[in-house]
Subunit: 300 residues, 2 copies
């Protein structure tokens, strides 16, 4: 099965304590698509400007990403510049130039409208809602978000969640949206907003997945060499989605394996700037770390 992924496509300028990349290919949909593309065909919906070069188009295409839904508009591509603290625990935004993204409205091509797996990568919840209005009875809708939308579009986000099956967000966002400091309570509260499953990302501590009657703790792959955490969460969710689509299932069992694969793909993401590491690896590298990670959480 295919995954439809809608979100931002951007150029990022990233600065860390040990290096920088002034123009990394980024954006939630880009990261999500490349990660999902390791597992299943991807249909990408987003917008880019005239400065989005053929090299990037080729990269996405080579990863099995269908680009019919990638609009090209007059102007420049969304640009974000940020700087991480030495231990990566804080991130400061230096520049946000929305450019062609400023008036982006997702248009879902006819051929994507019945795609069964939909990943609403991080963009404004009202735009995520527009995607659902243009699609037919999907098998599974997974949505990500960020602190900004919880802050300024909380009502739109809560409205969206009524139509979402799996809600993916990080621990800080889960606490912020629910007002619960205890993460298990926060997770249970998220389920009352509509989704049947909440997946809470915890960075180096992995992720937890909750439903009414299940709980799963996915470990992070133990990474010693973090270069740039940008896109880790997007690739985590993207890999999960690709795996679910590949197996045409959102059973607990398949989701658990998908969460470990999400941890694995995210562990590669953080080892380079932007998509640098994901460009280098193949399915075998993923498979090898997946086996390792399973051994790291197996109790005989």
């Amino acid at each position: 099965m295919s995954v439809l992924i809608v979100g931002s496509v951007a150029f990022d300028s990233i600065e860390t304590a040990t290096g920088s990349d002034p123009r990394a290919l980024g954006g939630s949909a880009t990261y999500g698509s490349v990660a999902a593309g390791f597992f299943s065909p991807v249909q990408l919906v987003g917008v880019v400007g005239e400065d989005f070069d053929q090299e990037n188009i080729d990269l996405l295409a080579s990863r099995g990403v269908d680009l019919e839904g990638l609009e090209r508009k007059a102007g420049r591509t969304f640009f974000w510049a940020g700087k991480y603290s030495e231990d990566f625990s804080e991130r400061e935004t230096l520049t946000t130039d929305l450019n062609v993204f400023a008036d982006f409205q997702p248009h879902i091509p006819e051929s994507y409208r019945s795609t069964p797996y939909i990943f609403l990568a991080n963009i404004a919840p009202n735009l995520q809602q527009m995607v659902l209005e243009q699609t037919d009875d999907p098998m599974l809708v997974v949505a990500d978000t960020m602190n900004l939308w919880i802050d300024i579009q909380r009502d739109d986000l809560l409205e969206l969640l009524r139509s979402v099956d799996v809600f993916v967000l990080n621990d800080e966002e889960a606490r912020m949206l629910t007002g619960e400091t205890n993460l298990i309570r926060a997770g249970r509260r998220l389920l009352t907003y509509g989704p049947s499953r909440a997946i809470i990302k915890k960075g180096e501590h992995g992720a937890v997945s909750l439903t009414e009657d299940s709980y799963f703790a996915a470990p992070a792959y133990p990474t010693q060499d973090v270069v740039d955490p940008t896109g880790a969460g997007d690739t985590f969710a993207g890999a999960l989605m690709g795996y679910l689509a590949a197996h045409d299932s959102a059973s607990e069992e398949v989701i658990r394996r998908g969460l470990l694969l999400g941890s694995v793909v995210a562990s590669f993401t953080v080892e380079g700037f932007g998509l640098d590491r994901l460009r280098e690896i193949d399915e075998h590298a993923i498979e090898q770390r997946y086996r390792e990670l399973r051994s790291y959480c197996t109790v005989e």
Copy 2:
């Protein structure tokens, strides 16, 4: 097999956002002993004052704790008062009255000197060292510590670690001692100090265990009702030790199960003030949560 546990025995005055206990039985050795006592016989070495009432003696004895090594001295028992922030992420010490603990020097009774499993619960590293000087060729030495000793007795701690098999500490302490912000790097660095295994406790995120050639991520039991986190780490390590002694093994397999049991016992600890919850439960309650926790981290 038995476990020898040496550490502090105290009365704690604990204040949280939702309640308080002005005189909870506490101390690293007390928590560790009660937790270990669910699994194996325990020999406790520590010191108390004249105010240590028979009720507390009886409690420990009823948990299978041998008290030959518990010295009673003129004066009052070690007293600590602290206050937690609303989300339990911060703890302020209000009072520390060392009392009879001020000149404590562990004396290991003759009958304890060949005990194969030794848990050096959190006390000053020079006192922990004195224990090892009085014991014969133990099978396994596990040591815990705290930020205070890393701060003021760093050299003694590093000296101790040369004789320790398993070093247990929390993530903040691991980063503080090694100077590494990446937790995996911090764990690997700890192994260069002497221990063949480092176990890093991460509170609500569980714990990780590292050796030269193994890695294991133990999830926390998902607790919704945290009342008082005091003693969680001590009972985590105590339960692990009791389980290892009960199985007379420190194999990877047994340690992994022991870590899950540590998570389970710690999850009960935090549900009440001091030892309140641990007094109520039995092996069946532990077994039930253990089965749940295993299901929460099983990937088919």
